[in-house]
Symmetry: C2
């Protein structure tokens, strides 16, 4: 960040009065430009005993497999964001069932909010951001070709505890 | 937003190619300036059977009571953010126990991540952003003087289900 988005003047990095963190502060109008972590909302989607994955048609991690997930938009709920991302990436209409887990990824300032969801019919196809979409049984999950550590962690845990009912949502950290 | 924070040129509201949401896009360098919801991390802190609340010394809702909570910072986990906010607002060192709930507040583009936490000793005092800090028994909670609907909702639910073990974290929406 070099310029104030409100007045166009230059900004400087400094600790504002009463604060204890470096912020971008406008040299002219003194506006403090806060930066905050972003939420990635996604879901582990099942149809019977299989899991829906998408092969990425975009960078980063082009060609690798992921659960449907993406940045939450203004005015949305996390649940709606997870369902929207599944519609965009896998052309699939899901019902969100419950919270699966929350993953902190502090080195990229992201929090993943991951839901359990299901399809009411095995209807899906690649959206613009996907090369392929496919339902995998647990034995078929392409563990070596998953796009991100958080996807691996969530799927491993999902497989591990899938028979535990009721599910208890949990928080975990992905540390680089 | 009126100016590009990268190059200082003016921005326009438009839907970028391949997108379906209005964004601020730089008229000169074409940078798309995404805006995303913010995470507020907080906790319901107990000491024995009492709950720690803070009376706000800042706007909005000056003078009203809240749980310790605030905007998550870059590079933090939600758990660490909730503990830091409690230290800042109530000068209290807490141990975070588990996730309590996640609240979507879409009309202000916020997601509250609320943990259960406890004090190891009844040691607390008002931080700079608090007028008072106090431990309330359930019967003493100042229901009519709580700062935000999300605080009321979380405390009501906490009281309602406090004897259910194990706790199952849940997701709810605060709709205006």
């Amino acid at each position: 960040m070099k310029y104030c988005s409100l007045c166009g003047a230059t900004v400087s990095s400094k600790i504002p009065q009463g604060d204890n963190v470096m912020r971008y502060v406008c040299d002219a109008c003194d506006t403090v430009h806060y930066q905050n972590p972003k939420i990635v909302a996604g879901c582990i989607v099942t149809w019977q005993d299989r899991i829906l994955l998408c092969r990425r048609a975009i960078e980063p991690r082009y060609g690798l497999w992921t659960i449907p997930a993406g940045f939450m938009e203004l005015g949305e709920t996390a649940n709606a964001a997870a369902a929207r991302e599944t519609l965009e990436e896998a052309c699939a209409v899901v019902e969100i069932d419950e919270l699966f887990a929350l993953y902190n990824i502090p080195h990229v300032s992201q929090v993943y909010i991951i839901f359990k969801a299901h399809l009411n019919a095995p209807e899906y196809s690649p959206g613009e951001e996907s090369l392929e979409t496919e339902l995998f049984s647990v034995d078929e999950i392409p563990w070596e070709e998953l796009a991100f550590p958080v996807v691996s962690a969530a799927l491993e845990r999902f497989v591990e505890i899938r028979d535990e009912t009721p599910h208890r949502p949990f928080v975990d950290d992905i540390i680089r």
